[in-house]
């Protein structure tokens, strides 16, 4: 240690809180020219007298000032030069020494007036961080990326994580395709890195941790509702690892989404709900809507075209559909303030881009609705196989906010005409049958394309208590049998795992394809029923994933600067685009016992047993003998009278 020339320290500070004197002084010494500084500890006695005036009672948590000395380098003086300030300040503003941040944050809001008269608002927040969570690299210093999620990724070796919480059902036929589809309830799918050995154990732990982070009941995910889809859920980020051993998918259709899920979701944003677009996210308005969906997607993405550097992308999305007829008393008018009860005043200062897009494709000449304030900025983007035009408001520009320093977008409808392009693919599902013994699940898939047929992947995950009769599986389109080209079926095990059915079905043009399968309802153990068993049991949505033929050429370059809403699903070829459609969840009634019955049954059987046992016992232990017939009634009365008269009886 002789190499360290420890210069002696400077000042002595006495700080007391309550009567505690802690004197710790640290010194720093510098090596010759080196940046390596060391701290030196040198306890000294304090000479102050402890003051004992009016001490508050010792609280559980007490605050004590820390006494620390700061010594400037080359200061050999040991005197009590107490007010030495650090003058060799490296803090001075020096732009050249400011490190280039490796993370980037963008925020975006897309507003699309729907033909039904509703308003669809889609928020997206994207944090991209150039770092490496892979292969046991310990990442521990966070800036924009939330620490809680980063720790989850590195601890559980997650490669891709997608979680969504949705309240309400997306009506594809009325509203068109959403930018980010999600099923009602909670959905979680995770790709683990191939270094994970015990995937099921990790998955269990991960769901518990996520349930804590998002205040949701994700801890109810267990082996009975987890499946490993073989084809439907491919990684959305880079990496061609497709071994579905490392994939887990689970839905909780019963999950209710509310404020307690929104608050932790907002906490993950770098600006919180204090600045930027997130100020609009007021829960009392967001949950007063027809549809609400919030999601978190984490995946590794490429930084550049050649994919030389990779980075981690965290996308937080929130989609909401407001029902305007309800809230506006029939007046067809809409504004930011009406919808969110807030207006915008600034962008998040940490965001590199902060934009609002308004879909005006169906309104090129302003004959349907009028947007104010008007913006000169227009942008075109190819999204969901269609070229759309958007008015753009750039919040990073001061001019957007005008003279009032606040942006309150206003849309006023002029006419309610116009029809929507029917979505090319949509699906529905229902349960048929009567009684509480058997039933039939019908899934209908609609291909609305006039002349193109395309294949779809159907994924069905059915709980074990509906016992599917897989031999009754039929797929028909246009009245003819349609043989799936690929079927992956994993039968259920009671109380262990659900059914998993995956099929690749070719949908003929302009047709409805119906998939039916019969099932039997199982009788549960009495502890397995939910607290309200007569409500029924939920069966999660079917997932239909497909490459739908596109009208316009899609952009296959995933790294080009594009609006966030159009860059979620990677696009491999120009002629088609990826769509995922979720059907309704099913609510199935199971045979439900009267829950006071067990005790009644116990009592009844016990009584029967006791009666049988009692007569047997009597037979075995009693001795039977012939008794003299008892005297007749007349004789008995006569005897009583004789007794009264004192005459001996007959």
């Amino acid at each position: 240690m002789a190499a360290h020339r420890c210069s002696n320290c400077a000042a002595l500070l006495i700080l007391c809180s309550l009567s505690v004197f802690i004197v710790v002084d640290s010194q720093e010494t510098t090596l010759n020219g080196g940046h390596h500084a060391t701290t030196v500890h040198n306890p000294q006695t304090t000479t102050g007298t402890a003051e004992q005036t009016a001490e508050p009672a010792v609280e559980e948590r007490r605050w004590e000032a820390t006494a620390v000395e700061e010594a400037t380098p080359d200061d050999d003086d040991d005197a009590a030069a107490s007010d030495k300030q650090d003058t060799s300040a490296p803090e001075t503003v020096d732009p050249s020494s400011v490190p280039q941040p490796k993370d980037d944050f963008q925020e975006e809001l897309v507003i699309r007036p729907l033909h039904s008269g509703d308003i669809y608002a889609s928020f997206q927040f994207r944090t991209v961080w150039e770092t490496d969570f892979m292969r046991g690299n310990k990442v521990s210093h966070y800036r924009l990326f939330p620490k809680s999620l980063g720790q989850v990724i590195s601890k559980f070796s997650v490669r891709e994580l997608h979680i969504s919480f949705t309240q309400g059902y997306w009506r594809t036929m009325q509203w068109g395709q959403p930018f980010q589809p999600s099923p009602p309830g909670a959905e979680l799918w995770v790709w683990f890195q191939d270094s994970v050995t015990d995937v099921d154990g990790t998955w269990k732990e991960l769901t518990n941790v996520l349930s804590g982070i998002f205040c949701a009941s994700l801890n109810f995910i267990d082996s009975t509702n987890t499946v490993q889809p073989s084809a439907s859920f491919k990684p959305l980020g880079i990496g061609n690892e497709t071994d579905h051993r490392f994939l887990r998918y689970a839905t909780l259709p019963r999950e209710i989404v509310c404020t307690e899920n929104l608050t932790p979701w907002k906490k993950l944003l770098p600006c919180g709900s204090k600045a930027g677009l997130a100020v609009l996210l007021k829960s009392e308005k967001l949950f007063h809507s027809s549809f609400h969906s919030q999601a978190v997607h984490i995946r590794p993405v490429c930084q550049d075209w050649q994919c030389k550097t990779t980075s981690w992308e965290l996308r937080q999305t929130l989609n909401v559909v407001f029902d305007l007829h309800n809230s506006a008393q029939g007046k067809r008018e809409w504004s930011l303030f009406k919808m969110f009860s807030r207006t915008l005043t600034e962008a998040c200062p940490l965001a590199s881009s902060s934009k609002i897009y308004i879909d005006i494709t169906d309104n090129p000449q302003g004959e349907q609705f009028e947007v104010s304030p008007a913006t000169p900025l227009l942008s075109q983007a190819v999204v969901l196989g269609d070229r759309r035009t958007f008015s753009v408001y750039d919040l990073t520009q001061q001019i957007t906010f005008g003279t009032v320093r606040s942006l309150n977008l206003l849309i006023r409808w002029k006419s309610s005409e116009g029809d929507m392009l029917r979505p090319l693919l949509h699906a529905e599902r229902y349960v048929a049958g009567y009684g509480l013994q058997t039933g039939e699940i019908h899934t209908l898939m609609y291909n609305n394309h006039p002349y193109r047929s395309f294949p779809v992947l159907l994924l069905d995950s059915v709980p074990w208590y509906l016992r599917l009769y897989i031999h009754t599986l039929t797929v028909t389109s246009k009245g003819k049998d349609n043989k799936p080209s690929y079927i992956h079926y994993q039968p259920s095990k009671d109380r262990l795992r659900p059914h998993l059915l995956e099929m690749l079905v070719q949908l003929p043009p302009n047709s409805v394809t119906e998939v039916t399968v019969q099932f039997e309802r199982a009788l549960l153990k009495w502890t397995e029923y939910t607290p309200d068993p007569n409500h029924g049991f939920y069966v999660g949505s079917s997932v239909i994933s497909s490459l739908v033929p596109s009208i316009v050429a899609m952009d296959t370059n995933s790294t080009r600067e594009r609006p966030l809403f159009s860059s979620f699903f990677p696009c491999k070829e120009e002629s088609s685009y990826f769509v995922r459609v979720y059907t309704e969840p099913l609510l199935v009634n199971l045979p439900t016992p009267d829950f006071s019955m067990p005790y009644n049954v116990i009592c009844l059987t016990c009584t029967v047993v006791a009666v049988g046992y009692g007569s047997l016992y009597n037979l075995l232990t009693r001795s039977f003998q012939i008794e003299e017939p008892s005297p007749g009634l007349a004789k008995r009365i006569a005897n009583i009278i004789r007794k009264m008269r004192g005459v001996p009886p007959l």
């Binding site: 007391c16 640290s26 966070y142 919180g272 047993v609």
Partner: protein, 562 residues
Amino acid sequence: LALKLNVLKRGQLAALSIAAVVIIVGVPLWWRTTETYRAWLPVNQINELANLQLQLSADVEVVFARGTVTPEQQKKVPLTQTQDEEHTVDEDTALRYRYETKYRTATIMEEDALNQPTAAEADLSLHTLSESPCGSLVVYVIPESSTLLPEDVDVYIGQRRTALLRIGAQMRVGRTLEQLLAHLEPRIKQVLQVMSFSHTDITAALSDRVRLSPGNKESIADSMRAFKSSPGYEITFSLLNPDPKSHRVHWDIEGAVQTYIQPLLTKLAPLANFSIDSQTLYYAMLGVNPRYDSSRSAYTLNSDSLAHVINPVEARLGSNAASSNPVLNFLLYVPDAHHSPLHIHDHKKQEVLSNAFHSPRWGGIMVYNVNGFYGPEAVFPVDININMAKVMGVFLAQLRLLLGVQSSAPPPGFLVAPCSSTGLADWELDRLMWSRTVENVATATTTITSLAQLLDQIGNIVINDNIAQQVSSAVTSLQLAVAELEAGNLGFALQYSKEAILASERAFFDPSLLHLLYFPDDQKFAIYIPLFLPMCVPILLSLLKIVSEARQKRRERQAKKD
């Protein structure tokens, strides 16, 4: 009549045999099928542990330098000497300290080392000569005339496990060896109390087991400041920037952790696992509005309001999702441009120069004013680089306090060497290890005994094999830890005590212990009664009848005899 008697006899036999079947087959069957599974627990050993007799053994080597003992005294120097000191803490806990002192004279190389010009250099070269094991000490007795130590210093405590002790003036020459040893003994004890353990430290470490009579407030504050012993700690550095519109703050936390924190943690590695992370939180406000002090033209935070500062920030700090170890939070708060500069005031209304404070068992906060680094005409946002040396000096001091590396003021005449770049001397680590081992043993014994008590009291709890196994391994580790403490192997003792605490906590907090906790007896019997009552009543009645008949028969027979 004979036939009637015969029939009666048969009925009695049938009743007796049914009763026998019920008692021999029915009752055990019912008992077996309804009993809760309870694995065997080492109850005797646990009860032994409830009565804890801890013995701490420390080895001290006393080396006489040339000029302290005469050659003929040298021959008479006893080789070893053992001293015992017993304390009874309460009825269940007793402590015994054993100091094993070895005496020898210095070797030639050690003499050379002691001839170095300064004590620090002597300490260093003595360390290179021999490495003493963890938990032991070497005290060099140097003559009064030695120039190693300054005038008023009698004892020099080095960075390692060595101390230099200067013989007092009255012991110059011509004294007997007994006098010399008697003179040295109390001072060596003092050295031991500074460098390895003192009774107050050890009793403070036992606080989990023993309810101490409240001493003075200072000692309570001392004992409450440091974190409880735990197998691991998470250290989180958070940069709070409430005003990202004005300040673009950069900190080189990675480099700073490598330079300042990591050496200390490497040194502390035998004690616990540490993991470090950092985050930046924007728009994180303090819980109180600082008051503007126009005389200083600065904003001030009073020490009374400090307690309210944290709560809103803490909600955003986030708990560590990946582990359940305690978290040490260190916050660096950069006040927003409109509330700068911000100063913390202590009870005497004086500015705290470090502008930092810490909260016991939680962490520390430092306020870092940046308004001096740009002028009034600066264009916002301003880029600011934080001087990590300044910040880490504060955090390191707080970290030492919170981890319990805290030296009570040394007695007069002692000089403690300033610690090295690792921020921690070897003997400080030893001190911490002594008290942590005792604390672990105390906590683990309390956990295990209360678990045993709980299981004993509530018969409905299922004890699975894995819990029994955890309990046994905790007990074994505890016994080993106590034995190693007795033998003076501090390192092993700490290791075993850590294992004990882990196993005992795992057993105590196992979720399976909750299963049948709330299954009351009255409900059970409500289910049994419809079956048991009609079955048992005839059996009992007929048994009673048989007994009364037998009694009557005997009476008749007696009457006949009479």
